[in-house]
């Protein structure tokens, strides 16, 4: 058995707003090995996004430990965290989060820009990533000129352009119709087949059924963790 890519032990997260405090995560212990396709499921407010933010190094746990690819994230500086996000993680958000003033390929090249990749190579790799999501002919279009499904595919291209080990998708199909949902899920499936580690967050059962492992979260704790068939979308 290979070493886990994600290794969370007793992770707690408490949000404090003045006197008010919310325990979003109450002791999460979870290991995910390289190449796994994990769906994190649970009702709204159960702590799924909070978990993803910690796994993606966008936020830090209040207590507990987190090792990503064997490295202790809790001891990293701002700059090191930025580097980890840039090299190891690709994010796909529910709201797409594309820069509206920039063309598709400019959006896709951003992670490469922050990785210090040269201009020509950035363009080449951004166009290749757009080809991979079937949008090679939309490279010069701005997000406003694309459908929701196409925008999310641009976001997937941006997530994979640095070829990160880990893809984190937080409700990526939440704003999409069924056709676009199927497209995006097929892309994630392809990435999984290509060896990427994928963590997919969703509260929809059919979407979660794509994954090969299902982790159910409720009230900040894991209530179920099981292998699934990994049904392919029709």
């Amino acid at each position: 058995m290979s070493a886990p890519l994600i290794d969370l032990v007793g992770v707690r997260k408490t949000y404090r707003n003045g006197s008010l405090s919310v325990d979003a995560l109450r002791g999460i212990t979870l290991q995910i090995r390289p190449g796994e396709y994990t769906a994190i499921m649970g009702p709204s407010g159960s702590g799924k996004s909070t978990l993803m933010h910690i796994v993606g190094c966008l936020d830090v746990a209040t207590s507990g430990s987190y090792h990503l690819a064997g490295e202790n994230v809790g001891e990293m500086s701002e700059v090191e965290l930025a580097q980890v996000r840039n090299r190891r993680v690709g994010f796909v958000f529910q709201q797409f989060n594309l820069l509206p003033s920039q063309s598709a390929w400019r959006n896709v090249e951003l992670p490469l820009l922050y990785a210090g990749v040269g201009r020509d190579e950035r363009r080449r790799r951004a166009l290749a990533a757009l080809d991979r999501v079937g949008l090679g002919d939309r490279a010069e279009h701005r997000p406003g000129e694309l459908s929701g499904g196409q925008q999310q595919r641009v976001a997937v291209a941006r997530a994979v352009v640095t070829e990160p080990a880990l893809i984190l998708a937080d409700e990526p199909t939440g704003n999409l119709d069924s056709t676009a949902t199927a497209d995006v899920l097929a892309l994630l499936r392809d990435l999984h087949d290509g060896g990427s580690t994928i963590v997919l967050i969703t509260h929809e059962a059919e979407v979660g059924a794509q994954a090969t492992r299902r982790v159910v979260v409720r009230d900040g704790g894991i209530v179920a963790d099981e292998a699934t068939a990994g049904v392919r979308a029709p």
Binding site: H53, E78, A82, F93, N97, S101
Partner: protein, 409 residues
């Protein structure tokens, strides 16, 4: 990320918000244009004043009666206790006693009514010697100037300044005509060219007569040899202080006085230039200070807009951080944006200021000089303003926690 790429990112942000960027730039633009105009106006005025004063003879020393504190000057009436005499002037003109003095012209003057045909005109009548023309750096438009012969004969001849000639005869081509001064007929022998006006009098409105004629026939005071002031021309600008010393010791000797009880004062035209230019400089500094204040306001405008920009783009900042932008990268992006705004304001402000410096003199008649140093300085300052007032907003952007930034709506 290279600086060029940071610059491109900043430039994209500026282009995306054209209107806002233009308005921000306007604040700096006005400030820079104001600085260039006020400094140019001040320098132009300084240049004009010193040119005017220099035109009157920059190598000029003026001897006035009384100690430096008594305040007696050219306006002291003839016959009052003036301690200067024609003899003083002659002695100062001696090449032996005062080798650094080129020429000397004693002056007595009084306001008199002049009449030609049916016209009356009251002007300053100056009694002096032939040297006056060179000492005061004047020139003749027509006719001739006073001669030693006129002086020796107490000749009833007069040289008119152009305004005086025009007022009396309606023209300046009047050599040979006659004019009565104080009911004595005089012959006009020449007319001076125009010289403008100095701080105290209109140089184009006066009548020049021989010193001897003035004291014996016109002003008729008790002491015929007494004069109101003596103009001294030094051989050059560099011998001015030597000439001053020679004149002082010569007059000390003649009057039997010393530094303690001197009955005369010597002032240099150059010190007048210095006084006037220093007053002008003070005014320029004051105006430039006000202009600089408007730059400060422009800078605060930049800061305000950058803070709005950071708040509005919190989500974008969060996304960039999620994609791997370091705090320093985000900070530089906003700093570049602020300094590009500043630079744009500076460049457009310089263009406006220079255009103003070319156009405004036609409207107000004052010269405005365009100083390359002030212009370059103003542009540098405008970038600096962008940077300085961009630091706080940029630091705020850099410090945003990625997750808080991403979550914001």
């Amino acid at each position: 990320m290279t600086w060029l790429e940071t610059l491109r990112t900043g430039w994209d942000a500026i282009r995306t918000h054209r209107m806002r960027s233009a308005l921000t730039t306007l604040g700096i633009l006005i400030g820079i244009a104001a600085v260039i105009l006020t400094v140019g106006l001040g320098e132009g005025a300084q240049g004009q004043v010193s040119a005017q004063i220099n035109a009157l003879g920059s190598n000029l020393l003026i001897v006035s009666p009384g100690s430096s504190t008594s305040g007696a000057g050219v306006r002291g009436g003839f016959g009052s206790a003036s301690t200067l005499t024609v003899g003083d002037a002659t002695a100062l003109g001696s090449k032996v006693a005062a080798p650094d003095i080129a020429a000397v012209a004693p002056i007595t003057q009084r306001s008199e009514a002049l009449t030609a045909a049916a016209n009356n005109w009251t002007t300053t009548v100056v009694g002096t010697t032939p040297n006056w023309l060179s000492v005061r750096a004047r020139a003749l438009a027509s006719g001739r100037f006073l001669t030693e012969a006129d002086e020796a004969q107490d000749a009833a001849v007069v040289v008119l300044a152009p305004t005086t000639a025009t007022e009396l005869f309606g023209s300046t081509d009047v050599a040979g005509q006659s004019v009565t001064i104080n009911n004595i007929p005089f012959q006009v022998i020449g007319v001076l060219t125009s010289a403008g006006s100095d701080s105290t009098s209109n140089l184009d409105d006066q009548a020049i007569v021989p010193q001897a004629t003035a004291s014996t026939r016109l002003f008729g005071g008790s002491t015929r040899t007494s004069v109101q002031s003596i103009y001294i021309e030094a051989t050059s600008g560099s011998t001015l202080s030597a000439a001053d010393q020679e004149a002082t010791s010569e007059l000390d000797n003649l009057h039997g006085v010393s530094a303690l009880n001197q009955d005369f004062t010597i002032t240099a035209q150059q010190s007048l230039v210095n006084t006037v230019t220093s007053v002008d400089r003070t005014l320029t500094v004051l105006l430039a200070g006000i202009a600089a204040l408007s730059l400060l306001v422009g800078g605060i405008g930049v800061m305000n807009i950058m803070l709005v920009s950071v708040a509005e783009r919190t989500r974008e900042i969060g996304l960039r951080k999620a994609l791997g932008a370091r705090p320093a990268t985000i900070r530089n992006q906003f700093l570049v944006e602020a300094s590009v705004l500043g630079l744009a304001g500076g460049l457009f402000g310089a263009v406006l200021g220079i255009a103003g410096a070319i156009v405004v003199p036609h409207l107000i008649g004052n010269p405005i000089s365009i100083s390359p140093t002030a212009t370059a300085g103003a542009i540098a300052v405008s970038i600096a303003i962008g940077l300085v007032f961009g630091v706080y907003p940029a630091t705020r952007a850099a410090r945003l926690a990625p997750i808080d930034a991403l979550r914001s709506e």
